[in-house]
Symmetry: C2
Subunit: 110 residues, 2 copies
DNA sequence: TAAAGTAGGTACCAACCGGTAACCAGGAAA
DNA sequence: TTTCCTGGTTACCGGTTGGTACCTACTTTA
């Protein structure tokens, strides 16, 4: 039963990995990050076009969540019409790297 | 619009990363993998005890999914009562490594 | 004899989640 | 004048998801 001690330390209630996973695991989320990393800072409308099939509502939800967790930044210019640009933060780029590693595994998998 | 060409190649409809994420993103899934990697091959009953709070039904669902995708193996011994042991496959261990990398990022995050 | 442990299966139910459609402001174009 | 564009918000609706409870069939333990 020494194992349990390890586990107690290793998986506290609010496991950080769990946080990240809950953040990323909503539909479209990784797709959005991918596009942002390929495309650089992108406006809402262009994102909606690049992430084919996503609805405005869900796109906004995802971006808000990612922004709240410091994965993307949001740049709002109060022009008319307003211009809002989203891009990866430093953390976002780190995460993107980790996701690419996972994708590499996924690809040589079958 | 040269960007779109890149994206077309980079994100095919069935993006492998998406597959992995849908597989892992159910509740409890990463927790199960974590316990399996800490504990080595483990029986159903012990898993249910180690993954505190999970129901038998969900545990079985997750293990079936992970088995179907070659992330865990299932060893069934038709004794009475039967003895069923689950453990990480080679792919499962690779995935576990990738998850640890993500956790490292999550930890120094804030 | 009754309870508990083995590894699940099944039915039901509430909560959540994503999609659709309508709507907002203000300005530009037809 | 009506439509479209910007970047959203809101109400509603249906499918999926996870949780609870109860069942199997056999053995061991109290």
């Amino acid at each position: 039963m020494t194992k349990d001690k390890h586990l107690d330390k290793a998986i506290p209630k609010g496991c950080p990995l769990d946080r990240v996973f809950r953040l990323l695991s909503g539909e479209w989320t990784t797709h959005i990050l991918w596009v942002l990393s390929q495309n650089g800072p992108t406006r809402h409308g262009e994102l909606r076009r690049l992430v084919e099939g996503i609805s405005s509502k869900v796109l906004t939800d995802r971006l808000r969540m990612l922004e709240a967790n410091d994965v993307v930044f949001r740049d709002y210019e109060p022009t008319v019409p307003p211009k809002v640009t989203y891009g990866l933060t430093a953390v976002g780029k780190e995460l993107d790297q980790a996701l690419r590693a996972m994708q590499a595994i996924a690809e040589h998998w079958t």
